[in-house]
Symmetry: C2
Subunit: 553 residues, 2 copies
């Protein structure tokens, strides 16, 4: 057990703010306030880690502390493997996590290498050091439920009951997202500690001792049109069928257990939780089989609820894909959340824009919140979000914020932030990054790129171009991972982080990266035939040969 | 049919030499003197293309002509998809070809997308615009046979008979490589035109009308200790078993048919060549099955020759992998050429360093040859190669040269080249690049990373770090591909190209890229536990945390 916490304040431990930012964000990912299981270096998403093991963690820290301003550290699956002399305008860190050659690109081979100490699962923001706790996903979840409400219930979840499962690193954002949209939620979770944690951080309102009570509480709150979130200890693969038996059909059904990982994520039904944890270590093969079978049951229950009128969607955990391997042939009958609710945003270069205050001072985040509200007063959903977030979101580790911004807005925000640091209104540099889940950064056929218009779901060229683009544009660090969210072999994705330290150099880097990064998303969607993306490119002067270059002359 | 040829001379058509170099090298890849089948945009290696289709080719040319010196063009599988404003020190072109998410990373899905016009197979240097004809592979093949001779026959192939197949873009280098090592070769090739072509360029000495004559000629030359290469029209899957029946066991047996591609590469036995070509289009499923069955027969014959005393090795075309899928369970009994002959070179950062003269003047290449011989007089194998190459190699398209150089040598050579351009001794800028087959750039478990000491054969993080490194170091263009040499899903690899135009900026870019690029190779091999790589890192001051950082303080 090694409690870890990022240093705060304005004093440098490294030789420059880019290295310092990488160091603090690495430490912040493993802060017990922030990461889910720091003792095992696990940050979130089942098995998503920040460093391969503790010796690698130490080497990362040591290397970052010594890294010069014209050097670049290479990180291979959570291990620092080299330091190269590049130049001042290059990234300070380049990261590649969990990537395997196609034919070997699966959990089986991954675990073989993991056992040998050669690999690490980086998830998206775990291995790329830009995890900011449940808030990170809270905004995405808020946007998703808001979109759903727009489409199905006139913009509001008032009086509607959402059933879901999983209160982990990402799933923990569900209850608050539903109540922020005025809805009622029952969230099934097998691990009592997770429920406790969400109560403590006020992401979850209350718990129910059993299913009947939970159903009763939910019905009452819905009837009263009051927002309420209820945690229910149990296994989703057991609870959902029980709900069906009791003729309890929610308005919305989804799931955020770590179904993408049948060994270290999902918990099978039919055995006590503690026994399941033991079996994980002692008989992993049996565990995996039970786990996949439970997912099939779980998925079938969702399908039945859909058939009986619930709005069902997959929340990016590959439950459908896993159930498919165990004979649920109609698993794909309900859609993923991206094509249903997120893709229209991607076509405008909208995506998750996040930042953290290296000062450690929440007032710095308040200053940035205010600055964005002033800069983008017409973005009403964002304004509403920022106001609610300021009130309801407890900071975990370094104070941080997230909101979704589009093309043209992200670089503008970056410049505003850099100016705030330069003027001293914000005390120390701001780290700006994003989830790998973004408009141009990911190829993930069961999630972000599911059901693309032209069928290019599995084309990974786009994610690679995004990765190279952020390096070429001057990120502080860039990362490329395999398998985030949906598991090894199911996704390839890139992340970028920049640092606004108030310098002119930072301004150039921050604005260049934040302009080009979402541009690749608009390009990707325009190429796939999305008219909205083409319109955005035209309107914003993004050069796409064969599409907008004629217009641009 | 659109005959294509690179412009030469010192006049710019683009707005800078980096763009101009990309333009000329793209055109040069499709020069009928250089590329194998330019009408179909195919450069080499079965189906390896330079542009997705002719409209994309036109768009590439148009975009390169207009590209500013602070812009970067994005290329997705042979199609220009965007132009971003980056900065002057960034690459001008970023390329991602043929990359698919793991679960979909196979020929089947590739062809589905290819048919829809969404994908292109880039091989290694085809889609990254740095193919320089058979010479490109000639040096590698020369090095391979020289290493083999070192190991098995006291440094010389005098009096030894090599049997192989395939006289395509890469395989065409085999006869000359064997004779440069004083050996005798019989090369089986199913396509008469390929044999003709190799005769014309003097890579092949002669042909034999039938197997018996070929065997007789080979035996005679071996007895006389005279170098000789003999082309034999036929199908390897038929000829090798016939040799066995006639008790003809060569000293060395290998193969360079395009076995990695069972549809557009390998030709099945038992049907006339012309009929096979028809079947390819009309009944691809049947063709593929026949093709894979023939490979099984072909591979079995190699195994039998090995059992009867021949030195057998796989020359990187995945024949063994394909045969394995058709029941040849012992296919892997003979080694790949990399672990057998190439890896020791990789541990010193040695790899294929190539360059082309944009002037179009062969005298420029002579000047560079001389300069390298002067700079590295102690590299006797290289000196011998350069002298023979100057004499025997016919330029195809732009005059070009290749030789293998190690860490510390490549950046030194880059600086020498840039100085030659600056001083006017070389008339126009030199383009410097390499095959994706290099020490740090590729993950390919059936070829370059076969049988790595630590079992990390399939770890693709390394190739990705190499890709990001060349972007961060200031390449002119960087590329990342899937499937080169061994087919879609079997490899991931990166390429980089720099341009020595005589400027100070070029010097910085060229030396930084050429220093860091092989450094990633030494790091990769040191991490895998190769002592020689660790020694090289120590001797050259390459910082590897946990291995050399203590030494370096
Ligand atoms: N944006 C997205 O696409 C998106 C967003 C959020 C989550 N996800 C995906 O959702 C999943 C959850 O992510 P996370 O970070 O919260 O993971 P996590 O591992 O931190 O949490 C998963 C939780 O599910 C619980 N759980 C496992 N099996 C269960 C079962 N059968 N019944 C009830 N509870 C069970 C676990 O106890 C744990 O608390 C992942 O697969 C993630 O990739 C995707
Ligand atoms: N460095 C390396 O690892 C390395 C080097 C050279 C080649 N290769 C591999 O070798 C293969 C050949 O490359 P290439 O560029 O020459 O390909 P290519 O397609 O240009 O040429 C292949 C040749 O093989 C012939 N051929 C196909 N089937 C045959 C058969 N059954 N019998 C006789 N001839 C047959 C074809 O007619 C063609 O001329 C590829 O798989 C390539 O990746 C690897």
């Amino acid at each position: 057990k090694r409690p870890v916490k990022a240093p705060t304040g304005t004093e440098l431990h490294c030789k420059g703010w880019l290295q310092e930012a990488a160091l603090r964000m690495l430490l912040n990912n493993l802060d017990p306030e922030n990461g889910e299981n720091p003792d095992e270096l696990i940050v979130y998403g089942g098995y998503g880690k920040a460093a391969r093991n503790w010796p690698c963690f130490d080497a990362l820290v040591r290397t970052l502390l010594g890294l010069e301003n014209n050097q670049t550290m290479l990180v291979q699956s959570g291990k620092p493997v080299g330091v190269l002399t590049t130049h001042e305008h290059a990234p300070r860190v380049l990261i590649a996590n969990s990537n395997l050659v196609g034919k070997w690109d699966n959990w089986e081979h991954f675990y073989e290498l993991d056992k040998k100490g050669l690999m690490m699962y980086g998830q998206m923001t775990a291995g790329s050091w830009i995890y900011i706790g449940s808030q990170g996903i809270l905004q995405g979840t808020y946007e998703t439920f808001a979109s759903l409400a727009d489409r199905h219930y006139q913009g509001d979840l008032k009086g509607k009951i959402v059933v879901t499962a999983g209160l982990g690193g990402m799933g923990g954002a569900q209850p608050l997202s539903v109540t922020m949209n005025n809805g009622v939620a029952i969230i099934v979770e097998v691990d009592e500690k997770r429920i406790q944690r969400r109560l403590e951080t006020a992401y979850l309102d209350t718990t129910a001792p059993d299913l009947d009570t939970a159903m009763k509480m939910a019905r009452q709150a819905a009837a009263d049109k009051k927002p309420l979130s209820i945690g229910l200890l149990g296994n989703a693969a057991e609870v959902l069928p029980a709900m069906l038996e009791k003729n309890f059909i929610p308005d919305v059904i989804t799931d955020q257990t770590s179904a993408h990982d049948e060994l270290n994520g999902y918990v099978p039904m039919g055995i006590p939780y503690e026994k399941a944890l033991l079996m994980r270590k002692q008989d992993p093969e049996k565990y995996k089989e039970l786990s996949l079978k439970s997912m099939a049951t779980h998925c079938r229950a969702i399908l039945k609820m859909q058939a009986r009128g619930a709005v069902a969607f997959d929340y990016g955990n590959n439950l459908r894909g896993q159930a498919l391997t165990r004979g649920v042939t109609n698993a794909m009958d309900y859609p993923g959340f991206t094509p249903a609710f997120i893709r229209p945003l991607f076509c405008e270069g909208e995506g998750p824009f996040r930042w953290a205050a290296l000062s450690g001072d929440p007032a710095d985040i308040e200053a940035t919140d205010q600055a964005l509200i002033e800069a983008f007063p017409y973005k009403t959903r964002m304004v509403r979000w920022l106001e609610m977030a300021a009130e309801k979101v407890t900071h975990m580790g370094l104070p941080a914020r997230i909101c979704w911004l589009g093309y043209g807005e992200r670089d503008k925000a970056g410049k505003i932030f850099n100016d705030l640091v330069a003027s001293g209104k914000v005390k120390a540099p701001l780290v700006i990054g994003r989830d790998h889940l973004d408009c141009g950064s990911v190829a993930s056929p069961y999630r972000e790129t599911e059901a693309m218009k032209d069928g290019s779901d599995a084309v990974a060229d786009w994610a690679l171009l995004n990765c190279m683009t952020s390096v070429a544009s001057g990120s502080a660090w860039t990362s490329f991972h395999d398998g985030g969210g949906v598991g090894i072999g199911y996704a390839m994705h890139a992340g970028q982080v920049t640092v606004a330290d108030g310098s002119k150099e930072a301004e150039l880097r921050v604005t260049t990266v934040l302009r080009n990064d979402p541009a690749t998303g608009i390009i990707r969607h325009a190429d796939a035939g999305y008219e909205k993306a083409v319109e955005t490119a035209r309107a914003r002067g993004i050069i796409i040969p064969g599409i907008t270059d004629q217009d641009l002359g």
